[in-house]
């Protein structure tokens, strides 16, 4: 039997993030991924969850220097995505359970997808 997939995206404020994530975990959702999008001066961070092919996204919009709280105490496996957020985008994430402090993904450029990259970090190979 085919199961219909549904996708919903709702915005979330920085101060509500951990509470909303905890509520999804309590409802039986699993963490699928955390991904960032550079929107030109700011980031959209999508926290994606799934339960029975119902796909829910919490969308957080933050500025380049904004510190984001870790959700790794709610979803233990979130550390891979949060370290990726830091290493590729330069977003500071506070309280990651396994914090690689910038060494999880080794790139030639310090923060290759950072909105502050131009005039900031220089490619080491340049």
């Amino acid at each position: 039997m085919t199961v219909n997939e549904e996708q919903t995206t709702i915005g979330v404020a920085l101060e509500d993030l951990t509470r909303e994530v905890k509520a999804l975990q309590t409802d039986g959702y699993r963490l699928v991924q955390i991904g960032c999008t550079d929107t030109g001066g700011a980031y959209e961070v999508n926290y994606s969850f799934d339960r029975g092919y119902q796909y829910r996204n919490l969308r957080l919009t933050v500025g380049p220097e904004t510190e984001v709280p870790s959700i790794s105490d709610i979803y233990w496996g979130a550390f891979v995505y949060e370290n990726e957020m830091h290493d590729l985008f330069g977003i500071p994430v506070n309280g990651i359970n396994i914090d690689f402090k910038g060494t999880f993904i080794k790139t030639a450029e310090k923060y290759p997808f950072s909105v502050t990259r131009r005039g900031g970090d220089q490619c080491r190979n340049a």
Binding site: M1, T2, V3, N4, E5, Q7, R30, L31, V32, Q33, G35, C36, T37, D38, N46, S48, Y53, Y55, N57, Y75, W76, G77, F79, V80, Y81, D87, I98, F100, T103, F104, I105, K106, T107, P112, F113
Partner: protein, 359 residues
């Protein structure tokens, strides 16, 4: 209390075809903690979306991985088709399903060989790869490529498989399945294989779900989750039930893949039998404006392509979450308690594809 030492495992190691590093904290020979590290070959393919038109990026998506390349192209194409509301012809859906299942077959047979090699079972390794060759031959015959197929595109497929070739493939499936069942019989019933794998690298159903495990890693722990159930491509017409095992150990993850080989053969057989006539593609006009999280079940689990269009020929963002990245946290939880000599087997049991992860 025994002295603790740290043994580096990878990024170069005889059982690892691709680079991943683990710091293994040991007490005597027993692993008490594992800390992973990736990023040795990060290619920044997501960023290439800014320099390629959305129709061209299918070629880049295919090159994310050399094993499930077709499925990356499919996932990307389906995402664009969803944003642009493109109706793909039925025949294209069926052809996509056949090539997807051929990819799964050769990926699982490749993994079974590598897994046998990690156990030191060389004959089983050679037999697995011998069978894989016949799947690669079919892919080469029908698409022109053994590794990169290049047949999937936004709006459909580029090549057809003629009636004569489909009939030939259908005839070949029975003897191929018999050979696969002989091979699977060794993986499932051989006492030495069972002795090596059962009870090793156990992860419970609740843990697997909570850690976000994907694919056979989740299904081997009893999580009945397979994105083919949503009916994308022709899976909705053909019907599909996930293969699930419950023990959560290396043997269960191996058993899931063995049984998925049989399931893929059955899906290909039915897709050939029910293949509709019709066109292969539709003309694609305009540019995508909107966003979609496209998901496809790859051999290693669910892959996610987040695609965001801005009304131009170039997408604003492509973000790819591969199943191996999702399976790293479960791997970190599987390793404590294992002996150092068993680490290669446990690591391989998630079927790590670092090429995908380092997209």
């Amino acid at each position: 209390m025994p002295e603790r030492i740290i043994v580096p495992f990878g990024p170069q190691h005889p059982v690892l075809p691709e680079p991943i590093h683990l710091d293994l904290v040991l007490e005597d020979e027993t692993v008490v903690e594992a800390v992973p590290s990736i990023g040795y070959i990060h290619r920044g393919l997501e960023r290439l979306i800014e320099k390629r038109e959305y129709t061209e990026y299918v070629y880049v998506a295919e090159r994310i991985c050399g094993i499930c390349s077709f499925m990356h192209a499919l996932c990307y194409s389906q995402g664009i088709e969803e944003i642009m509301k493109i109706e793909v012809p039925d025949r294209a859906h069926y052809l996509r399903t056949i090539w997807s299942e051929c990819s799964r077959l050769h990926s699982h047979l490749l993994w079974l060989g590598l897994f046998a090699d990690s156990m030191g079972f060389e004959n089983l390794f050679m037999r697995s790869w011998q069978l894989r060759e016949s799947v690669l031959d079919v892919l080469e015959d029908t698409t022109g490529g053994r590794v990169i197929q290049g047949t999937c595109k936004v709006g459909g497929v580029r090549r057809d498989i003629g009636a004569e070739k489909l009939a030939e493939m259908h005839r070949a499936l029975d003897p191929f399945e018999a050979q696969c069942r002989d091979l699977g019989d060794v993986f499932l019933n051989d006492e030495t294989v069972k002795y090596r794998l059962q009870g090793l690298g156990v992860i419970s159903k609740d843990e697997a779900y909570a850690l976000g495990a994907a694919g056979p890693t989740a299904r081997g722990s009893g999580v009945a989750m397979d994105h083919r159930e949503t009916g994308y491509a022709a899976y909705g017409d053909l019907g599909f039930k996930p293969v699930v095992e419950t023990a959560g150990d290396c043997y269960a993850r191996c058993a899931v893949r063995v049984k998925e080989v049989y399931a893929s053969i059955d899906l290909i057989r039915r897709a050939i039998s029910e293949m509709p006539e019709g066109s292969l593609d539709v003309k694609v006009k305009g540019a995508p404006d909107g966003e979609y999280f496209s998901r496809v079940e790859q051999p290693r689990g669910e892959v996610v392509h987040y695609l965001r269009g801005n009304g131009t020929k170039h997408l604003a963002r492509a973000r790819i979450r591969t199943p191996t990245l999702a399976n790293i946290p479960p791997l970190v939880k599987m390793l404590p308690g294992a002996q150092l000599a068993d680490v290669p087997v446990v690591v391989l049991s998630i079927d790590p594809c670092i090429s995908c992860t380092e997209r």
